[in-house]
Amino acid sequence: DAGITQSPRYKITETGRQVTLMCHQTWSHSYMFWYRQDLGHGLRLIYYSAAADITDKGEVPDGYVVSRSKTENFPLTLESATRSQTSVYFCASSRGGNTEAFFGQGTRLTVV
């Protein structure tokens, strides 16, 4: 089915481990985004990408790495997970221009 999918939906990892969250979209949207959602903070932008091989930092990029070698994929890597990175992570995509952003179902990450 077309759309934007995130995997895994749930992940528990230990402090210090590297973990990668996957995001795949089938619309060939130019723009992709990673947000984290925390109680009391709403949604905060981590990184975004305007096209393949073009990425830029958002509001809270520290401790995260992204790559975009293909238009349809935008993985987010936590290089060395910390408890403060326990959150729900949402990937989104947009055609850009005057179009809406579509969000995935989210990945709930717990760092213990």
Binding site: A50, F90, E100
Partner: protein
């Protein structure tokens, strides 16, 4: 610095009543103001959006009111229904800058009671 301030944090409304959620922004370069609706366990989904060249936009029971001089915008849900119970986020972006990234408010949890 929070660029989009949303209130209230939570809201309880009787079925059939009007739900009102307010947002204020600081960055005068913002030129696109969407509202997103999020149900538990789901990602946010676009509900309605407005640009600063109009003062009001209505889609069914949902209306955005926009006050450019006050740098404020609000969502009105008329005839609120239990199915409207969700978390609502206002957002803003500067599309002229070309980044299309959204800055979100902290969200309002709406509960519509029968």
């Amino acid at each position: 610095q929070q660029q989009v301030k949303q209130s209230p944090q939570s809201l309880i409304v009787q079925k059939g009543g009007i739900s009102i959620i307010n947002c204020a922004y600081e960055n005068t370069a913002f030129d696109y103001f969407p509202w997103y609706q999020q149900f538990p366990g789901k990602g946010p989904a676009l509900l309605i959006a407005i640009r600063p060249d109009v003062s009001e936009k209505k889609e069914g029971r949902f209306t955005i009111s926009f006050n450019k001089s006050a740098k404020q915008f609000s969502l009105h849900i008329m005839d609120s229904q239990p199915g409207d119970s969700a978390t609502y986020f206002c957002a803003a972006s500067n599309r002229r800058a070309g980044s299309y990234q959204l800055t979100f408010g902290k969200g309002t949890k709406l509960s519509v009671i029968p």
